[in-house]
């Protein structure tokens, strides 16, 4: 088991190094000189050259890469051209919104979807199954910006329970910050929960048809305890896979919902950075996401092994 963990970690680190090289290389190919961009259209060629020298843009690419990668290791991502602040500071602020948001919506969707999927599978073919899976279908079909508007209308405008948008910052206290995040988290969780519930249901239905479920029933276990003690763990693999993918998406793919709620999240940061050609920011955020995805995949891989002994090591 330890070799297995060690191997997976090593594999993850290798992927990270390769990915950083690719990210670095891709941004070299993108047209546009950052130095000229920072100085504006009226700068002279000499001024641009001086700045290029300062920024190290005239060094060989390998050195530039090593410099950049070394910075990453020290959490020094460089300075943003457009915002003129440290990128780490910028990203840190945004992450303080996006990370809790992703975790809350993932938590919400998991809490609802997995029990719902299990319930539907245990009542397969009956009314309860049809109703819950019909609801999941609607959840998937509903555009989340529209659902977000609906939530704002009901909870912010009509009931006045939470703010309609914006983010006060964690410095304003935990409760106001959470209140600002709860509606966006709900809006994000709905489609995720719908997908997760369907995946859970179909995985459970498949497992419940397996021979070992019959063996467990023949031991004298009730249908309900078989569901929890034998079926669930076997059905978890596809569920974990989907959860991993959803987390990666929730971290940065939430730009529409961020816009609806006027949240300063990572998604909007990337979007603005791209449109302003702030390559340092783009590079840093992309690297951050790559690292997050690799980390999540590592965790998913390790949890596979926890769930299923056949996936542990030595083969």
């Amino acid at each position: 088991m330890m070799t297995f963990v060690f191997k997976r970690v090593l594999f993850g680190l290798t992927t990270l190094v390769l990915a950083s090289a690719v990210v670095f290389a891709m941004l070299q190919v993108v047209p546009g000189d950052p130095a000229r961009l920072m100085l504006g259209m009226n700068a002279t060629e000499d001024q641009v050259q001086v700045l290029r020298e300062q920024m190290g843009l005239n060094q060989p690419l390998v050195l530039q890469y090593l410099d950049w990668a070394g910075g990453l290791l020290r959490l020094d991502f460089g300075r943003s051209y457009t915002y003129s602040v440290e990128v780490s500071e910028l990203v840190g602020e945004r992450l303080a919104v996006s990370l809790p948001l992703a975790l809350i919506s993932l938590g919400l969707s998991t809490l609802v979807a997995i029990p719902l999927g299990i319930y539907a599978a245990s009542r397969r073919g009956k009314t309860a199954d049809a109703v819950s899976m019909g609801a999941a279908q609607i959840g998937m079909a509903m555009p989340n910006f529209w659902f977000a508007l609906l939530l704002i209308y009901v909870f912010a405008v009509w009931l006045r329970l939470v703010p309609a948008g914006g983010f006060p910052g964690w410095s304003a206290g935990v409760w106001p910050a959470l209140k600002a995040l709860i509606l966006p988290a709900l809006a994000l969780a709905l489609p995720q929960a719908a997908i997760l519930a369907r995946v859970t249901r179909s995985a459970m239905v498949e497992v419940l048809g397996q021979d070992y479920i019959r063996t467990a029933r023949a031991k004298g276990m009730t249908a309900r305890s078989v569901l929890w003690r034998h079926a669930l763990r076997n059905a978890l693999i596809p569920v974990l896979t989907i959860l991993g993918m959803q987390f990666a998406f929730l971290l940065a793919g939430t730009i529409i919902v961020e816009n609806v709620f006027y949240l300063p999240g990572l998604g909007r940061l990337v979007f603005q950075a791209i449109s302003q050609r702030d390559l340092v920011v783009v590079q840093s955020v992309v690297m951050l996401l790559v690292a997050a995805v690799i980390l999540v995949n590592l965790l998913v891989d390790l949890s596979y092994a926890l769930v299923d002994p056949r996936l542990r090591g030595n083969r």
Partner: protein
């Protein structure tokens, strides 16, 4: 009063009648065999007793177990019975155990469920029962997972689960069908011992008359969901008063009429396998090392003449399928040479292998799994025609397919059908049609009848014999079933641990096996006549 008393049992599932008027009794310490072909309702009878049927099932009649009316008992009472007083063992040991739980957990679970004992006590009882079924804890710790055990060992675990609490009744549904004959004999012995140790009643379900005859005191023969014939085993099977019983016995011992193979003088061999080995790399040890490679096939040589029929017999895992894959050029030997029809197969490209592929075809075990369900019979049977050098026109293809279907006893009308529209036996005919469509000289058949019911099996064996006679096709039959070997082959090769340990005329080898491996196979193989004679002798 009997231990188990099934009276007038009827069952329909979702409106489809499955069982009617079933009467079966099992006494304590008695073995009752339930025989019948697939779909006759054997398993459904067993599941009715366990009350583990689908929700849409409607039961009628009476089942009394140990004074309890099963059909009207509440679900909680059934949960208390299952696994405690009634144990059940299923057919497929590879899937009957939960892959994510250790064998110890799975056995102990039932014990802790029914007896209020501590974890340690349950574990102690688990060790005892696993020891009893032949899995001593020193060699097979409770922390093993099912995937770390072989099929036979897993079936022992399943028996341990069912027998942990010394049930009054054990229901075994085809417990040995997925195992090779040697393992089958061991598991049957174990069941027999458990019955006599605990005066347990055993309801043994099997499609194999020979197995049931060897085991059961009384039998019931099921057909179309009803009991066709029942009574003392030796009386039912020796008197054969019921026509269906006679039909089953005849089919089970059927040997097709075949002409012995007479090799033409100095004919060149069709297939010449010389000193072939196949090594698989051993499991990794540490970062760089590997343990000794596994010799799946170890310096095997054999010669097959045109029109000859050879059986390759051996226990599961002895390397017979690996050898077959190499002969079919689906796998490359690590060393040695395979010459087919004068051409060396090793190291040839796919294009160079085309003429050889046309001359050799394969028939697999499972007629259900080897067809794409979304293609018509015509497309499926016509598949190997791509091996021809000149592609056929659509009309020519249809004619060729019709001819092949005709050869195997199907009609040209069957061309438009899909696989699910054929019965199991017809599907196996279909796969034989697919094999003969290129007029091959050799057919490799991997357990071609072991998934079939006895009467269909007899028909398919006849078909093989007939094609051999009419078309002069040579066969290499791979099987662990000596009855099949006896029925279809001139010569037999016995394989053990990757080596051929014995070869000779089939009848000679089976009558007087020399090697230890062959002797084990022959003595373990269930034989209806022998079993019946022994029973009659015991009765006096």
């Amino acid at each position: 009063m009997s231990l188990l008393d099934i009276e007038n049992l009827s069952l329909d599932i979702g409106g489809t009648p499955i069982l009617r008027d079933i009467d079966i009794t099992v006494e304590a310490g008695e073995i009752v065999g339930l025989v019948g072909e697939s779909g006759s309702g054997k398993s459904m009878t067993a599941l009715s007793v366990m009350r583990l049927l689908p929700d849409t099932a409607r039961l009628g009649g009476r089942i009394t177990f140990d004074g309890i009316d099963i059909l009207s008992a509440p679900e909680s009472a059934m949960c208390a019975l299952r696994g405690d007083d009634i144990g059940m063992v299923f057919q497929e040991p590879m899937t009957a155990l939960n892959p994510v739980k250790t064998i110890g957990e799975q056995v102990a679970e039932g014990i802790r469920l029914h007896r209020r004992v501590s974890r340690a006590e349950a574990e102690a009882q688990t060790s005892t029962i696993l020891d009893r079924v032949g899995l001593p804890t020193q060699k097979f710790p409770l922390s093993r997972y099912p995937h770390q055990l072989s099929g036979g060992q897993r079936q022992r675990v399943a028996i341990a689960i069912a027998c942990a609490l010394k049930p009054k009744l054990l229901i075994a549904d085809e417990p040995t069908t997925a195992l090779d004959v040697v393992l089958q004999a061991q598991i049957l012995d174990l069941l027999r011992e458990l019955v006599s140790e605990n005066r347990m009643g055993l309801l043994l379900i099997s499609h194999d008359l020979a197995v049931v005859t060897a085991m059961a005191d009384r039998i019931a023969i099921l057909r179309h969901g009803a009991v066709a014939d029942a009574g003392q085993t030796e009386r039912v099977l020796s008197q054969q008063t019921h026509p269906y019983t006679r039909q089953l016995v005849t089919a089970a011992t059927h040997v097709p009429a075949r002409m012995p193979h007479r090799p033409a003088e100095q004919a060149a061999p069709l297939l010449e396998v010389t000193e072939v080995s196949r090594l698989y790399p051993g499991p990794r040890q540490g970062w760089f090392g590997r343990s000794e490679p596994t010799r799946a096939v170890d310096r095997v040589s054999l010669i097959l003449h045109p029109g000859q029929s050879i059986a390759l017999v051996g226990r599961s895992g002895c390397g017979k399928s690996t050898l077959a894959r190499m002969i079919l050029a689906l796998d490359a030997p690590t060393s040695g040479s395979i010459r087919f029809d004068g051409m060396e197969l090793a190291g040839k490209s796919q294009a160079e292998l085309r003429p050889a592929r046309r001359q050799m075809q394969v028939v697999f075990q499972d007629p259900y799994g080897s067809f794409d369900p979304r293609q018509t019979a015509e497309k499926l049977v016509a598949e190997p025609l791509y091996l021809l050098d000149a592609p056929l026109s659509r009309a020519e293809t249809r004619d060729t397919v019709a001819e092949a279907l005709h050869q195997v006893g199907l009609t040209p009308q069957d061309m438009e059908k899909y696989p699910h529209e054929f019965s199991g036996g017809q599907r196996q005919r279909l796969s034989i049609a697919r094999a003969i469509i290129t007029h091959p000289k050799l057919i490799v058949a991997d357990e071609p009848v072991s998934a079939l019911d006895v009467s269909i099996r007899a028909q398919i064996l006849d078909l093989f014999a007939d094609l051999n006679r009419r078309l002069g096709i040579a066969y290499l039959f791979i099987t662990h079933d000596l009855t099949v070997a006896r029925a279809v082959s001139d010569d037999v090769l016995v394989m053990h641990d990757g080596r051929i340990v014995e070869c000779g005329k089939t009848l000679d080898v089976l009558a007087a096996p020399q090697s230890e491996a062959a002797q084990a196979l022959v003595s373990a193989a269930p034989d209806l006549h022998r079993a019946l004679e022994r029973r009659l002798r015991e009765q006096g």
